[in-house]
């Protein structure tokens, strides 16, 4: 098997997860910030759950939920003629849930830190909530959106427990970089394990450095 395959798989998984989180996380975060329902805290807790839950717990229940014996698993198999568990699509689902708070919470923080007066100014100038969102909230939350996307990307890249539980270790399909490291160590190939680890370390550090650097510049220009 090619050395680069697990790395490319990790990158693909992270990218797809980030895009999905960007698309669904923004409306979810908007709802969490502006909804007045008193049951909001339940959704908030669910979103934050992956922060405190052992990845194996999430992985286990996901496996139960999407496995061949579950309704979702059977339904998926009937439509796509393949199993959701132990597939790349299954990994996307797991990563999506596991990285949800890393995207939604920065979105939420940046939406709620937009001055309420600006929203009122927009409404009193005759502009709808949707127009206000795209013209005022979103541009002023740029930094939070970038942070959320980058963090969810980096977090997916480093995920291990959930991936192993629901994806297993199938070369080229579900063997992402973090799983490959574990695999190499199991077969006592420390050299390769070190290569993967060093690349992931370098990548994660670079991403975080870029985020903190742009955040710092952003604060200065305000």
């Amino acid at each position: 098997m090619n050395f680069a395959t697990p790395l490319l798989l990790s990158l693909r998984l992270s990218l797809v997860t980030m895009v999905l989180l960007f698309i669904t996380g923004i409306p979810l975060a908007y709802w969490l910030v502006f909804s007045r329902t008193k049951w909001k805290f339940i959704i908030e807790s669910v979103v934050a759950l992956p922060l405190v839950l052992p990845p194996t717990v999430l992985g286990f229940y996901l496996l139960m939920a999407i496995g061949g014996n579950s309704i979702i698993g059977q339904w998926y198999e009937a439509i796509f003629n393949s199993t959701l568990a132990f597939s790349f699509q299954g990994l996307i689902l797991g990563s999506f849930l596991y990285s949800l708070p890393f995207a939604v919470q920065p979105f939420q923080t940046s939406f709620s830190s937009v001055d309420k007066k600006l929203l009122e100014a927009s409404w009193s100038l005759g502009r709808s909530h949707v127009y206000t969102f795209f013209s005022v909230i979103l541009p002023l939350s740029r930094q939070g959106i970038i942070t959320g996307c980058v963090l969810s990307f980096a977090h997916t890249l480093g995920e291990f427990g959930v991936v192993l539980m629901i994806g297993g270790n199938i070369p080229g399909v579900t063997r992402v970089a973090s799983v490959a490291i574990y695999d190499e160590v199991q077969s006592l190939d420390y050299g390769n394990a070190n290569m993967y680890s060093a690349i992931l370390l370098f990548f994660s550090f670079t991403i975080l450095a870029i985020v903190y650097f742009t955040n710092r510049r952003f604060i200065r220009t305000l």
Partner: protein
């Protein structure tokens, strides 16, 4: 005529107000902070909802608790000028002003508005690059750009220093006259109210106390004097017969002598708002060489 009559209770505070705002005039809502002035503006604009009551603008009903009518702020032809300007920090002066204009071709209109408040050349500046006075000018024309029937101004000058304030008071008067827009102006500054308002509604702890022209409200009668200067008492020095009262009017101090009994009768204290009146026969007039 804008008819406003409503009740709102929150945190044990009751705001119970009935107001009639004449079209085409500047009406000041005057009163101490905490009297409910800003909340009245917010309720008129639709940013807040009253517990009961009715708001009608000419023949349009904006709010009626009984028949369940509540127009959102977007549908009320209202311009709102906030105390802290509330300019969009990520948009230039030009884009801020154009924000509420829905017509496609508005470049010329925006340019005219910007030049009206003397900000030509600042079109591409961001709010953070402007002074307080400039920001409030932008906020004013942004609100007027939508051609509202009603302009609501919530202590628009209180965040500015006195010199900027004085200049803006003059400009405001002119611009509001030019647009001939019905205006409700919240202030607790007596000088400002005198300068701008045609009509005053005085509020205290959630209730309308008095209404009338500025003179009627603050003097109880028409003055026979020709000159009136409003200001604040900043010093009272007594000797047995006469008392010297120092009044500050903008950046000038005016000292005047008053009978000690008068002081007692009025219960005059430092910090009181007063009006100094002078008969025209006593006034000396000089021509100055340089125009200010």
């Amino acid at each position: 005529m804008l008819h406003v009559s409503f009740k709102k209770i929150w945190n044990g505070f009751t705001l119970d107000a009935t107001l009639e705002i004449p079209f085409g005039k500047i009406t000041a809502l005057f009163g101490p902070s905490g009297a409910g002035k800003s909340t009245i503006l917010r309720i008129i604009s639709g940013l807040e909802t009253a517990d009961e009551g009715r708001i009608s603008y000419g023949s349009e009903v904006w709010f009626d608790k009984l028949s369940g009518i509540h127009l959102p702020p977007q549908q009320r032809p209202v311009g709102f000028v906030f105390q802290d300007f509330a300019l969009f920090p990520h948009l230039t002066v030009k884009k801020n002003v154009a924000y509420g204009i829905k017509e496609k071709k508005h470049a010329q209109e925006v340019r005219d508005l910007i030049s009206l408040v003397g900000l030509s050349g600042y079109e591409h500046y961001y709010p953070a690059q402007l002074s307080g006075g400039q920001k409030q000018r932008v906020a004013l024309i942004r609100a007027l750009a939508r051609k509202p029937g009603l302009l609501l101004m919530d202590e628009p000058l209180s965040a500015l220093d006195w010199e900027t304030r004085r200049q803006l008071q003059e400009d405001l008067k002119q611009i509001l006259r030019q647009f001939n827009v019905t205006t409700i102006y919240v202030t607790h500054d007596i000088t400002e109210m005198y300068k701008l308002a045609d009509y005053v509604i005085a509020l205290e702890s959630g209730k309308v106390m008095r209404r009338g022209t500025p003179e009627e409200i603050f003097l109880g009668k028409k003055l026979s004097t020709r000159i009136q200067i409003s200001g604040k008492v900043i010093g009272i020095e007594s000797d047995p017969i006469m008392v010297a009262v120092t009044v500050m009017h903008e950046d000038q101090y005016i000292k005047t002598l008053i009978d000690a009994e008068e002081i007692d009768r009025m219960d005059l204290k430092i910090g009181d708002d007063v009006i100094i009146g002078a008969k025209s026969s006593d006034v000396i007039l000089f021509k100055t060489l340089t125009k200010l």
